[in-house]
Symmetry: C2
Subunit: 236 residues, 2 copies
DNA sequence: CAGCCTAGGTGTACGATGTAAACCTGTCAA
DNA sequence: TTGACAGGTTTACATCGTACACCTAGGCTG
């Protein structure tokens, strides 16, 4: 496979396709990212893209990965709260640079490893700060879209981690997940339903009410403390 | 206009079209709601829909309105916190019955009067409880998607309330808004930018950081208080 | 070296989508 | 009686994602 040859076309690859998608979406909006349009930018036939990308959703997933890759990596040695705060604000900066990303993330159904890795890393920061698995779980839910634009329901979405039928494959997958996303796994195993069985997905309703009450109580407290105009958050 | 005549077709209207859209989305998913498909359900030619609906986005807006109309109305006489809580949980119930609604609301760019009215009503509940305009504003941002699936950024989105060019129309619009959405107006007027000019849209970044710190502090407090497993929220 | 395999690119074609434009038709107001 | 017009139809177009068949040039194996 002649990589560069003479032509000005530097060999199509999945990475180049997704990067071109990001660039195109940045300047012309996400609607301009059609397979035909993107192929034209790459001076390639539309169907050529399908040799490197399963379908359009896969392409969009790759574009999201590029955005996530631009997040700051966690700085070690800082307090968990400062660390999480800096990380999330960095994610926000990246999302502001790519306004289309928020909607794409929300619409996408499958989570790529990059997405899972980011979530795992964030969960790990809470746990490294000493928060329990349950409290970390609550915090991830409460932060929700604040993390980057969609609530981290991959913990519960059955599509997020497709479990194979073959027990042998299950075993292999479990090992892989436990090595790669240990914190996510801890949260998943911590989940119990009414029957007490672990790994049964979290109780969305009580998660929702937990954060709702947390917020309402917080504003009640601010109100009672006489908070009335623009001030910094009470840090007591 | 023979309304019923002999045919079994009870006259097409915007309301019937949107209601049929809701029913269709409920049983076959939002992707099944195409103009052609919907028209077929109504035993009508696809283009007939356009006599009652501007375009597809308008149709989806009408569908959302139907969902919102199914929310519980606020019960008078209860504490603001209980009232808001009940209202939001009711909204959640409605959204769970129409799983497609969340994505549609997130994707829609224009806010219908029904949407604005709901937001205004909710803001009014905070203010009736004695919260200041600013604090209400923060609370609406913090609750964000929890209200129904999208953060209430209609306060800031310039597209949300298109300001006409003609000064006379501006005047009329201002009067109309002040009568119809008084609480939203109060929040909008409360916004000041760096130059101190009111009505200039809120500072998204500081809103974001406000809620972020609120949540991080809340979890820090829970952590420090020894919260480690499933308990009810500390209500102190 | 011959030959085949395959990764990677092309062209064509299909069904679906939203909707613009022109047209038809029955009902009510003047 | 005569429009006007609300409401429904037909046709047509551009665009979309992508299935399918095809071509072609290296690199590997015999």
């Amino acid at each position: 496979m002649a990589e560069n040859a003479t032509s000005a076309r530097p060999a199509l690859t999945r990475g180049r396709a997704c990067a071109a998608g990001v660039a195109l979406a940045d300047v012309e909006g996400i609607d301009a990212v059609s397979m035909r349009n993107l192929a034209a930018r790459l001076e390639v036939s539309p169907m050529a893209l399908y040799k490197h990308v399963r379908d359009k959703e896969d392409l969009l997933g790759g574009m999201i990965d590029i955005v996530i890759a631009s997040y700051d990596t966690p700085r070690p040695g800082v307090d968990w709260k400062q660390g999480v705060r800096a990380r999330i604000l960095s994610a926000r900066r990246a999302l502001l640079q790519h306004p289309w990303a928020r909607r794409v993330i929300e619409a996408s159904t499958t989570r790529t490893p990059t997405v899972l890795a980011y979530m795992d890393s964030l969960a790990g920061m809470f746990m490294a700060g000493g928060l329990s698995v349950d409290l970390t779980h609550h915090a991830m839910h409460a932060l929700g879209h604040r993390i980057w634009g969609f609530s981290p329901e991959a913990f519960d979405d059955p599509d997020a981690l497709a479990v194979p039928d073959d027990p042998a494959e299950q075993e292999a997958m479990l090992r892989h997940v436990s090595e790669t996303y240990p914190h996510i796994l801890a949260i998943a195993l911590g989940n119990t339903d009414a029957s007490g069985a672990p790994g049964s997905g979290c109780d969305e309703q009580s998660e929702f009410e937990f954060t709702l009450d947390l917020l309402l109580d917080a504003f009640d407290r601010l109100h009672a403390a006489g908070w009335s105009s623009r001030q910094t958050v009470l840090r007591s």
